[in-house]
């Protein structure tokens, strides 16, 4: 055991010695602050890196769009938190769209009646058609929007208004010419078409892998027996779709009451909703991305990488288009935002009473949200995902699939669905990280790229496929970053310079990249990567 991990242990020991040497010159207060802040940054990084490592481990896809999913999660969470009215307006069309997706299992049966699967082109055409339908319908549905250009109506001003406790929402307006009923019908149709085309696309891929497009793969044979359980499943789906439809219409009818109720919940509950909403948004986008854009490229790994790189850019532009370029903030929920008498809290008991934003530990101020809550969430996720991997059937399938996904498929397990699930799971973790990080780092269209870089570095350090490696790497990256920031203040005495060198904050990421390059040169597989 010791011999097997000798190199890793030595590296970790060297790093530990370096860190201890770096702490030496500081007071206990400073040292503690740095370590805790490092862990906090590490926790956020880990949420992104863990998803990346799950996805890469199972399907060999390095998802360079993961930072973008992190960012989209943050923006979605912010919207729920600050503009619940917009979200309530969005629920009915989303529910109608989902109806089509829920009904997806119906399509193979219907298409099966056709005798042969339509060509993949039809799938793509269907997707385009669904897109056009949405473009036509959505503007006619009243949705409370904001303007990126008009400052009073911009996300920035709403963030400020919320932090001052004086939110006022403009009424929702529809800009399209259609009547809302027709528009909603259009969305419903779009959902159905979307479901159909996704079905076609997902059914086609296996055939395409064989010989390319020139020889169309065989159509599924006619007269496939459909078991009763299949119809039962269809029935369940149909019921679910009906309920969704009903829920959508209900929300439409009770729009204003629902907004008022949501606002009445207070920031703590809203923040909880934002966490859920951000996670689900990112997970849904991730799953959709895998099904439509990544799946056709499983045989072309380089193109897969290029694809995710392009998606990162597209996502970035999408955020700029919807929320605008300027940076803005997400106020912390009341639970972590107490100020005034007795703050910063001197003990945990005092904190529980006052919910101060900071707490005194060893004479140093610690921000409860950033430096305690985030670390706890990071630990919870670490434990939860580890349990999922080690104890659940899905985890078992993932661990088996990492080694040999063909054999898993040959056991009768729908590996492709597992792929989509894991992709959605990873994306969801990134989205969760995004919402969690938003109150401490703020929102900007650049947040994705910088967190992606951190996560990639953490992953490369820890070993691309290793889940524990992702955790260790994230912590290392977080600590490294905080130390460099600290030394930016106190300066590093360098032999050839008279004044101590004070790296500016912009240089911080460069130091982590260098750490990565050094570690990879020593251990090309990372700390915990497989050596093969």
């Amino acid at each position: 055991m010791l011999r097997k991990y000798r190199l890793q242990l030595i590296t970790l020991a060297v790093l530990a010695v370096l860190f201890i040497m770096a702490i030496q010159g500081m007071s206990a207060k400073d040292g503690l602050t740095i370590v805790i802040r490092g862990l906090s940054v590490g926790a956020v990084t880990f949420l992104v890196a863990s998803g990346l490592s799950l996805i890469f481990g199972l399907m060999d896809v390095l998802n360079l769009a993961h930072g973008t999913l992190f960012m989209l999660g943050a923006y979605a969470g912010w919207t729920i938190y600050v503009r619940p009215d917009t979200v309530v307006d969005l629920i009915p069309p989303l529910a109608l769209l989902l109806v089509g997706l829920v009904l997806m299992p119906l399509w193979p049966v219907l298409l099966g009646r056709l005798g042969r699967m339509p060509a993949a082109v039809w799938g793509w055409l269907g997707l385009a058609m669904a897109g056009v339908l949405l473009l036509i319908s959505l503007p006619s549905i009243p949705i409370a929007a904001w303007s990126a250009r008009d400052y009073a109506q911009s996300p920035v001003s709403y963030a400020i208004m919320l932090s001052q406790g004086q939110l006022q929402f403009p009424p929702a307006e529809a800009t399209g010419p259609l009547s809302p009923a027709v528009a909603l019908g259009g969305v419903l149709l779009a959902g159905l078409v979307l479901g159909g085309s996704l079905t076609v696309l997902s059914q086609r891929h296996r055939g395409m892998r064989v010989r390319g497009q020139a020889t169309p793969p065989q159509s599924p044979p006619k007269g496939r027996r459909i078991s009763l359980s299949h119809w039962e499943r269809v029935g369940v789906r149909a019921t679910a779709a009906g309920l969704l439809l009903l829920a959508g219409l209900l929300v439409l009818a009770l729009n204003d009451n629902l907004t008022a109720w949501l606002l009445g919940l207070g920031t703590n509950w809203l923040f909880g909703l934002a966490l859920i909403g951000g996670t689900l948004t990112a997970a849904a986008l991730g799953g959709l991305m895998e099904m439509t854009l990544i799946r056709p490229l499983y045989d072309r790994p380089i193109y897969q990488l290029m694809m995710t790189l392009g998606l990162a850019v597209v996502g970035h532009e999408l955020v700029v288009a919807l929320w605008g370029r300027p940076e803005f903030t997400m106020p912390k929920p009341a639970l972590f935002n107490g100020v005034g008498d007795g703050c910063p809290a001197e003990s945990w008991a005092a904190w529980l009473e006052l919910h101060c934003s900071t707490i005194l530990v060893l004479g140093g101020r610690i921000r409860v949200y950033n430096e305690i809550f985030l670390i706890i969430v990071g630990l919870v996720v670490l434990v939860a995902v580890s349990l999922l991997l080690q104890r659940s059937r899905l985890g078992m399938i993932i661990r088996a699939g990492v080694q040999d996904s063909d054999m898993v498929e040959a056991l009768g397990i729908n590996v492709r669905r597992v792929f989509t699930l894991v992709f959605a799971l990873g994306a969801g973790l990134a989205g969760l990280g995004g919402v969690l990080a938003a109150p401490s780092i703020g929102l900007s269209p650049l947040m994705g790229e910088s967190v992606l870089l951190m996560a990639l570095i953490a992953l490369a350090i820890g070993g691309l496929t290793s889940f524990p490696g992702a955790a260790v790497g994230s912590v290392l990256v977080g600590l490294m970053e905080q130390f460099i920031i600290k030394y930016g203040q106190i300066g590093i005495p360098l032999p050839f310079l008279e004044e101590p060198f004070k790296p500016s904050p912009t240089l911080v990421p460069a130091s982590t990249v260098l750490l990565m390059v050094i570690i990879l040169l020593a251990m090309p597989q990372g700390l915990f990567g497989r050596t093969e």
Binding site: V210, T215, P217, A410, G412, I413
Partner: protein, 234 residues
């Protein structure tokens, strides 16, 4: 005797290479059929094509008179086909118990079959909590076969069960396959002709991606010319 599995003229490409160029065969219900042929002739690819792991681009495959070509592997497997691949493909990071449990298609599959499996391979019971990495070659082979027995499979596709095993263990393996063939149909790829001839009732010879000869094993054993012609002396 009806055929559980029928293959008509399948062609399969792997990457840029045309591996199967017309393979047809039939596996009668309740029999052990051996796929014979020299190294690289396309035997393994035939098994994988049946399962859709390397889907054929032309030709038809029928399982219980139902066409299965063009379906995805997990759908084909779920119809009741178990696969024991070459080199076993035991999941190294999973324990023996997990390796068996992952093959469950319905809850409780393993509990129902436990007794039968452990009576065939008593060793596995002892090793149940060990990770797959720590198993020896023979134990891995047993686990791979056991894994295919967990769900209610009608047909087992077994690729080179005797490869790299000591004679004693081969004997054991053959006994186990013979015993389980009382309820299952088996399609077997076997390089060791002795093993194949003692196990199988029928044979199919594949050469250069074509099925060139098939029939009863008893006839083949009496036909050294054919053996020499297609299989070499070995």
């Amino acid at each position: 005797m009806t055929n559980l599995l029928e293959i008509h003229n399948i062609h399969t490409f792997i990457g840029q290479f045309h591996i199967l160029e017309a393979v047809s065969l039939a596996v009668p219900q309740g029999s052990i059929t051996a796929l014979l042929g020299r190294n690289g002739a396309g035997k393994t690819t035939t098994l994988k094509s049946i399962l859709g792991l390397t889907p054929p681009s032309e030709g038809q495959i029928y399982f219980e008179d139902q066409p299965i070509h063009g379906y995805r592997s997990f759908e084909i497997a779920a119809l009741g086909i178990g696969f024991v691949p070459e080199h076993r493909a035991i999941f190294r990071d999973l324990s023996v118990a997990e390796n068996l449990r992952i093959a469950e298609r319905r809850k409780g599959d393993l509990r129902r079959k436990e007794e039968f499996i452990f009576s065939l391979f008593p060793d596995l019971k002892r090793l149940i909590h060990l990770p797959g990495t720590n198993l020896s070659g023979g134990q891995q082979q047993m686990l791979a076969i056991a894994r295919a027995l967990v769900p209610d499979n009608k047909l087992l596709l077994i690729d080179e069960p005797s490869e790299g095993l000591a004679p004693v263990i081969i004997e054991h393996m053959m006994a186990a396959i013979r015993q389980l063939s009382q309820e299952k149909t088996v399609l077997l790829v076997e390089q060791n002709f002795i093993v194949a001839s003692q196990l199988a009732e029928r044979y199919v010879i594949i050469e250069e991606g074509r099925s060139v000869k098939q029939g009863l094993m008893a006839d083949l054993v009496d036909d050294p010319a054919t053996i020499r012609r297609y299989l070499g002396a070995a």
